[in-house]
């Protein structure tokens, strides 16, 4: 019996060695993602979106002209993970800083990377005005419905009935208002050319999200105006769930309020 197991293991190892050859490689970490381990919690959606942005920049060959604007929030250290030029904005002011960078360096490809506490709360004015001016930037918006970094407090995007550390009985819309669908608001502004809502919880949605990121960068290079890509995301630590449970909860509850798909494409 022991001999049989040994043979089986040996056979498996040999087969694997034959498969694991550079010529057979179909997918791996893009060199644009640095070797610094990301500080995000296990299973956090930020990592997937970082990876997709890095892959698209690499595939389009725009590493030298791309400038990212890092936010305040969990993604504040984004500049440590993607090997491009970055600027760090004050809380919520990423679209204002992106405006400045793009106007000073018009040939650059500028994008902001913001969470919902950054973009849809303290930075609402900057977001709306940058989009209304039609600044030639891409905005990547991670919407997980809470303030993840500071301990899972209720955010403007928190859905009705959602339990957070500051709404332990669930969000009461009579007291705290309705969830802010800021991407829908941005569609009515003439400055936006592309507004879409994506997710990254399954292989299929990841592929669609990557296409949306690519389109946003292509719009920026074509100087078409502001592109907004919202990612409905999880914060499993803040939601007090496992990563898989958080994905299921998001698909069941968040997608009703934030349905996926293109909201505007001109």
């Amino acid at each position: 019996m022991q001999i049989a197991t040994y043979l089986l293991q040996n056979h498996t190892i040999m087969t694997l060695q034959e498969i694991i050859q550079p010529a057979n490689k179909v997918y791996g970490k893009t060199p644009l993602l640095t070797d610094t381990p990301m500080h995000y919690c296990p299973g956090c959606s930020h990592g997937v979106v970082h990876k997709l942005i890095a892959e698209v920049i690499e595939e389009m060959g725009i590493q030298d002209i791309t400038i990212g604007i890092a936010p305040v929030g969990c993604a504040v250290f984004a500049y440590n993970y993607i090997d491009i030029d970055w600027q760090e904005a004050a809380h919520g002011r990423a679209p204002a800083l992106a405006t400045a960078v793009n106007r000073l360096l018009p040939e650059s490809c500028v994008f902001t990377y913001q969470g919902d506490g950054d973009l849809a709360a303290i930075g609402t004015a900057e977001t709306i005005h940058a989009c209304n001016r039609g600044e030639n930037i891409a905005i990547f918006f991670i919407n997980n419905g809470i303030y993840g970094m500071t301990g899972g407090q209720m955010a403007p995007t928190t859905i009705e009935g959602m339990v957070t550390s500051t709404s332990p009985e669930g969000r009461d819309v009579m007291l705290e208002g309705y969830p802010l669908k800021i991407s829908n608001l941005l569609t009515i502004l003439d400055g936006t050319c592309y507004v879409t809502r994506q997710a990254v919880h399954t292989p299929a949605t990841v592929i669609r999200a990557k296409k949306a990121i690519r389109k946003a960068f292509e719009n920026t290079l074509a100087k078409k105006g502001t592109s907004v890509v919202e990612f409905v995301s999880t914060c499993n630590s803040g939601w007090k769930m496992t990563p898989h449970q958080a994905n299921q909860w998001m698909a069941e509850h968040m997608f009703k309020v934030y349905p996926l798909g293109d909201l505007k494409d001109q």
Partner: protein, 74 residues
Amino acid sequence: MARNKGAVVVNIERCKGCHLCEEACPSDVLEMNQQTNAMGYHYAYMANAEACTGCVSCAYVCPDACITVYRVKS
């Protein structure tokens, strides 16, 4: 039945053991190891290597880009 043969290599020190690759794998190839890495996480490994088709589902959903996928067409 002819199917592609695949294999994944997990960057053990980057893996945080979030189980998302395990949930995404349609062939139940991946599991979390009993061993832990330097960060203290149970990292993913191929528990059922023969079933792997190299479909890349695990690597697509991996938040830490730890998975490299190899595939041989049969």
